[in-house]
């Protein structure tokens, strides 16, 4: 951790991947692939935000879609009602983030003192409530039919939008990385490991959990904004449980508590969704590709609680002969919840 950051080997790898991603659309002139990659990056942002909750703080929220949905609707509505310029686009992102921040603060304050079961259930219910409101409030949301809108002209070029999303993802990644490595992030990890002990050390754990949920909510809103623009369309599906489930699958399969893991999860799930549904024309079973992930997910929870990234990372550390202790790769270990 104390090594000059830019020189470490894993950062070098990340940098190379970053360069490759920039070069990608210019090398591979495929509209479909660019769109797929954009989708992967957007869901990568969402999954990283979920990792802050699940991976770093150890809380399971079933209501993450509500923040994603808020971002999506903010951007869609503002681009539709005002001019569709970059300025409005950026403004709508900020507005979405602010609303999401306030909502996650309020929801967190109300719910985060509950035990994990109840928290999961209540977040599911609140998010379900928001979905119902959105479906009934047709004047604004157009309900399940949704509405299309015009994106800023520069985004007509898919590559430009892709690069913007890529840049945002990098910014989010670096910001979150700093966040989890900050003293505050350390407290979150301590909460995950043993909330009771952290409390008895004098930390107001509720305060830290609320902060984590605000950070996660704000970033999820950003992902929602980008998602809406990528489709130039929005409907109430952005608020459904499916979105939360996607984030959950990506985080678990990719690896909780790593930030890189959720990105890997997004690559795996989004591309599988893309290619497996393609296969479905010949083999109908692939229509139900989600089953495979459901099963992988269950196996991961039982046998590989660290996910792809976590498992690879700890293998790598073992291989490096225990020179570096894993500080930020800790699984959802079996006997962690002594706090309840």
């Amino acid at each position: 951790m104390n090594k000059p950051i830019l020189l470490s080997r894993s950062n070098l790898i990340l940098f190379i991947i970053f360069l490759a991603l920039i070069a990608f659309p210019f090398v591979m002139d495929s509209r479909t692939l660019t769109i797929l990659l954009t989708q992967i990056l957007i869901f990568g942002i969402l999954a990283m935000s979920y990792d802050i909750l699940l991976g770093y703080t150890g809380i399971v929220s079933f209501g993450h879609a509500m923040f994603f949905g808020i971002g999506a609707y903010c951007t869609a509505i503002m681009l539709n009602d005002f001019e569709s310029t970059i300025g409005v686009f950026l403004g709508s992102i900020v507005v979405g983030m602010i609303i999401a921040g306030i909502l996650s603060f309020l929801v967190g304050l109300l719910t985060l003192r509950l035990k994990s079961h109840f928290f999961a259930m209540l977040t599911m219910a609140i998010s379900g409530l928001l979905l119902v409101v959105a479906e009934k409030w047709r004047d604004v949301t157009k309900g399940n039919d949704g509405f299309t809108f015009k994106a800023p002209d520069v985004f007509k070029d898919r590559i430009v939008f892709y690069l913007v999303v890529l840049a945002l993802l990098v910014i989010v990644f670096i910001t979150l990385k700093r966040f989890v490595n900050s003293p505050l992030g350390r407290v979150l990890i301590a909460v995950r490991e043993n909330e009771q002990r952290t409390k008895s050390l004098g930390f107001k754990t509720l305060y830290y959990k609320v902060i984590a949920s605000i950070v996660a909510g704000v970033i999820a809103s950003l992902a929602g904004s980008l998602y809406a623009v990528s489709l130039r369309f929005v409907n109430t599906s952005v608020l459904t449980m499916e979105i939360t489930l996607d984030a959950l699958l990506m985080t678990i399969i990719g690896g909780v508590g790593t930030l890189i893991g959720p990105l890997i999860g997004s690559v795996v799930i989004e591309s599988a969704q893309h290619y497996l549904s393609g296969l479905a024309r010949d083999f109908p079973i692939f229509e139900r590709w989600i089953i495979f992930f459901g099963i992988i997910y269950i196996l991961a929870v039982i046998f590989f609680p660290k996910g792809i990234a976590g498992t690879l990372q700890s293998k790598y550390y073992q291989w490096k002969a225990k020179k570096v202790q894993t500080t930020n790769v800790v699984p959802l270990s079996k006997n962690k919840e002594s706090s309840e």
Binding site: T111, H117, M121, V301
Partner: protein, 287 residues
């Protein structure tokens, strides 16, 4: 007046279905400290296997029996494969049962197709009675009676039999039950399978009531059951009957008078209960 009576009957019938689903959920939670997010998957599997065998044999009774068997088998497999490995870890339980819910739901589409299946009420339960100006739909009465019989039966088991006594004791203090020489894991399995069977029965009974079934129904009803379990108090069997009827009636009256609020009302009710009285309205384990 007529309107009120039919709304009450409607609400009671829905309430009973939710009760069947919630009863297992609440006992499993109270005894095993497991909140089963896959409970709705058992419900929808009960509906499909029951309705398909009903269609195949022409006998609704066979359908109900098949649903019960499905519930028992799925309950057994689930307890052994899904619940036991993560016993005692809430976060993993929540994650894994939700994942299993997803799998169960998608498996429905694999085995029975992704389309909505229309279901008819069996002939001898179809139709309605006319009492004065009131039209009473027979099948709803059937559900209500069925629900009360199940309640009575389980109330008897819980309060009058040794195994019921052990279950109630286990809800209060698991360690002590074991220290008195009882293998609690066997009790867990028994309760889990019973709860699963109840959920499956709720599914097959609901199918003719709503007229059609589809895979996502499980999640929809499960949310109602969660609400009921929270309102009634986790682990309280009686509480879940009370809360289920409350939720059923609220749903039926709201759907008539303020339709756009009908779903919201129950969720708000649950949120309020969770925030101000997280142990529920009833104390657990009264039997």
């Amino acid at each position: 007046m007529d309107l009120i009576i039919s709304l009450v009957i409607n609400g009671l019938a829905t309430g009973m279905l939710i009760f069947l689903l919630a009863a297992g959920l609440t006992l499993i939670f109270g005894l095993m400290d497991v909140l089963n997010f896959a409970h709705g998957g058992l419900f929808v599997w009960g509906a499909y296997t029951g309705i398909f065998s009903y269609a195949y044999t022409g006998s609704f009774i066979v359908g109900i029996v098949v649903a019960i068997l499905t519930g028992l088998v799925f309950g057994f497999i689930m307890e052994k494969l899904i619940i036991t490995p993560v016993y005692g870890n809430h976060v993993q339980q929540i994650l894994i049962t939700l994942g299993f819910m997803l799998v169960l739901q998608e498996m429905i589409k694999v085995f029975f197709g992704p389309n909505v299946v229309a279901v008819k009420v069996p002939e001898y339960l179809a139709g309605s009675w006319q009492v004065g100006d009131i039209i009473i739909i027979k099948y709803r009465i059937f559900i209500i009676i069925f629900g009360f019989i199940v309640f009575g039966l389980f109330h008897y088991i819980l309060t009058r039999t040794k195994v019921g006594l052990i279950v109630r004791a286990g809800v209060m203090n698991k360690d002590m039950v074991q220290a008195l020489g009882i293998n609690i894991k066997r009790i867990f399995l028994f309760v889990f399978m019973t709860g699963a069977a109840l959920a499956a029965v709720a599914g097959v009974l609901m199918a003719p009531y709503s007229g059609s079934i589809y895979a996502e129904l499980g999640m929809e009803y499960a949310i109602l059951a969660f609400i009921v379990v929270v309102i009634g108090g986790m682990g309280s069997f009686q509480g879940s009957l009370f809360a289920a009827i409350l939720v059923g009636l609220a749903g039926s009256f709201m759907a008539y008078y303020v339709p756009y609020l009908s779903l919201a009302v129950n969720m708000i009710l649950m949120a309020v209960v969770l925030i101000f009285r997280p142990q529920g309205l009833f104390q657990a384990a009264k039997g």
